[in-house]
C-alpha cells in the first residue's frame, strides 16, 4: 500500500492554490543497485486532480520527475470546505487517492 | 583529576588513561592543563568504544601522530612559532622525492585526480586509487565552477610562479607533505600518509606546472 500524499489546498485571492507531495521512488530504470543489477523503472505516469467532482488538472509524467514528487498549481474559484482529490497511477498500476479540504 | 563522567562503562578506562595522561603531561601542570588532559584522555577512551572498524578504516585511524596531536590544539589559532618550527622540521624530514628525479606527469590524469573525492573512506574500494579532491578546496582549471575556497586559488599557478625546476620541487613537496611548509594546515599530507602514489603526485604537479595544463591557460 503506497503512503498517503500530503495535500494543501488554500484560497489565494479568487483562486485555490494546490500543493502536493507524493511518496514515490520514481526510479528511472537506468540506475544500478549496489550489486550492479539494474533497478527497473518504477514511476508515476498519471495524476488527476479533482475539485469536488470537476477535473482541474491532468498530468502525464515520465521518469524525469524527481523522487517524492512535488507539484503546485492554481485553479479559479473554489471555496472553503470544497474538496480537492488527487489520484496517481504508476507504471506498476499501483495507485493512491487522497483528499484535502480547501482552507 | 578524577573524571566526572559516570554512568558509562568507559569510566574505568577513562580513569586509567587520565592517569597516564597526567604522567605524560607532568603532574606539575596547572589545574586547567590537568583538566584538559583528563578530558582528552576521556575523549580518546570514548572514541575507541564508539567507533567500529569498517573496510579499510580500522580503529588505528583514531591514533594520532605527533603532528596530529599538536595540531588538535591549534585548529582556530595558529601554533606558536616554536611549535610550528618543530612540526615543519619533522615533516620536511619526511619528504621523499622520486628516485628517478622525474617530477612531472600527465596533467590530464592530474585533472581527474583533482576532481575525484573518493579514496581511503571505509565506503571506498581499497583496490581503486584514491583521488586528491583538490577542487573541494581550491580553484584550478577555470571551466570547473564547482570549487571550494578552503585553500587559495591555484588558477595560473605555474604561469605566475614560473615553470622552474625549483618550483616543481616545491609543488611536489607541498603535495607530498604540506605540514612541512605550513604547520597545522588543513591540507592532507598526500605522500607522507600514502594517499597518493608517486605517479599520481607527478600528475598533480603537471596539472599545476605544465604550461599546457588548463590551470595555466
Amino acid at each position: 500500500m503506497p503512503d498517503p500524499m500530503k495535500i494543501r489546498a488554500n484560497l489565494v485571492g479568487d483562486s485555490t492554490e494546490v500543493k502536493v507531495l507524493m511518496s514515490h521512488e520514481m526510479d528511472t530504470g537506468l540506475a544500478k543497485d549496489s550489486s550492479g543489477k539494474v533497478i527497473p523503472a518504477w514511476f508515476i505516469q498519471k495524476v488527476t486532480v479533482l475539485h469536488n467532482d470537476q477535473q482541474v488538472l491532468y498530468a502525464q509524467w515520465g521518469t524525469a520527475v524527481s523522487k517524492n514528487p512535488f507539484m503546485s498549481f492554481k485553479f479559479k474559484g473554489g471555496a472553503k470546505g470544497d474538496k480537492v482529490t488527487i489520484t496517481w497511477v504508476d507504471n506498476h498500476n499501483e495507485t493512491r487517492t487522497d483528499s484535502a479540504v480547501v482552507g | 583529576m578524577i573524571p566526572r563522567i559516570s554512568g558509562t562503562r568507559l569510566a574505568g578506562i577513562a580513569v586509567l588513561l587520565a592517569g597516564a595522561a597526567a604522567i605524560l603531561y607532568g603532574c606539575a601542570g596547572t589545574p586547567a592543563e590537568d583538566k584538559s588532559a583528563s578530558v582528552e584522555a576521556q575523549t580518546i577512551a570514548m572514541m575507541k568504544e564508539s567507533f567500529k572498524a569498517h573496510g579499510q578504516a580500522g580503529l588505528d585511524r583514531l591514533d594520532q601522530d605527533d603532528t596530529q596531536r599538536l595540531c588538535s590544539k591549534y585548529s582556530t589559532t595558529p601554533p606558536p612559532a616554536a611549535v610550528a618550527k618543530k612540526i615543519e622540521g619533522e615533516n620536511l624530514a619526511k619528504v621523499r622525492y622520486p628516485a628517478d628525479g622525474k617530477l612531472m606527469g600527465d596533467w590530464k590524469k592530474g585533472e581527474k585526480i583533482a576532481q575525484l573525492g573518493r579514496g581511503m573512506q571505509f565506503s571506498d574500494d581499497p583496490a581503486k586509487p584514491a583521488g586528491a579532491n583538490c577542487y573541494a578546496c581550491h580553484q584550478l582549471a577555470p571551466k570547473e565552477l564547482s570549487y571550494g575556497t578552503m585553500g587559495p586559488s591555484l588558477y595560473q599557478f605555474g604561469k605566475k610562479r614560473g615553470y622552474t625546476e625549483e618550483n616543481r620541487r616545491y609543488v611536489w613537496a607541498k603535495v607530498y607533505d604540506a605540514e612541512a611548509f605550513s604547520a597545522c594546515t588543513n591540507m592532507p599530507r598526500f605522500g607522507e600518509r600514502h594517499i597518493l602514489t608517486d605517479e599520481q603526485i607527478r600528475d598533480v604537479v603537471a596539472l599545476l606546472m605544465d604550461p599546457e595544463s588548463p590551470v595555466n591557460r
Partner: protein, 158 residues
C-alpha cells in the same frame, strides 16, 4: 483496506464519492478517474523533433508569453531541479517540460482545462547541464521558451 480508509478519512475530512468508494475498495480509483491516456511514444523520444511529432506534430514559435518562474540558473543537485512555467498565451491547453540532454526528453506534460491557471511548478531530474524547454500548446499551436540550467557537482565528492 481498513488502514487505507482510515488514512484517507484522516487526510481528507470529507471525501468525494469517487475517493470514498475507492477507499472502501469498491472501485479502482484509476478506473474511476476520467480515462486518460499516457502518451508512451512521447516519453520515449530523444530529441525535440520526434517529441513534437509524438505530441501531435507542430512547429513551436518562440514566445515571450511563455515564462519560467522559480527556476534556477544553476542546480546544486541534478536529482531535484525546481521548474515553474507560466503561459500567458490565451487558451493554453497544455504545458510540457523538456530536458534536452536527458535520456528521454519529455519530463512532464500538464493538461490545463478551462478554469485552471496555465501555471505549474514541479521538480525534475537533470543528468547534466542542459537546455530546458517550456512548451505550451494553445489553440492548436505550439509556443516555446528555453533556458540553460547548469548542474554542478556538490559536497565532498565522496
Amino acid at each position: 483496506m481498513d488502514r487505507h480508509r482510515r488514512q484517507a478519512l484522516k487526510s481528507g475530512g470529507g471525501l468525494s464519492l469517487v475517493a470514498l468508494l475507492a477507499a472502501a475498495g469498491w472501485i479502482d480509483p484509476a478506473a474511476a478517474a476520467p480515462a486518460e491516456a499516457w502518451n508512451k511514444a512521447a516519453f520515449q523520444t530523444h530529441d525535440m523533433d520526434s517529441t513534437l511529432k509524438a505530441l501531435g506534430d507542430g512547429t513551436p514559435v518562440p514566445s515571450p508569453n511563455v515564462v519560467f518562474f522559480s527556476t534556477p540558473d544553476i542546480a546544486e543537485n541534478g536529482a531535484v531541479v525546481p521548474v515553474g512555467i507560466t503561459s500567458k498565451v490565451p487558451n493554453t491547453e497544455s504545458i510540457a517540460i523538456l530536458v534536452e540532454k536527458n535520456p528521454n526528453m519529455l519530463a512532464a506534460l500538464f493538461e490545463i482545462p478551462n478554469g485552471t491557471e496555465p501555471s505549474i511548478a514541479t521538480r525534475v531530474k537533470m543528468r547534466e547541464t542542459s537546455n530546458v524547454y517550456a512548451l505550451v500548446k494553445a489553440g492548436g499551436n505550439y509556443y516555446v521558451t528555453s533556458k540553460e540550467i547548469k548542474v554542478t557537482l556538490g559536497g565532498c565528492g565522496g
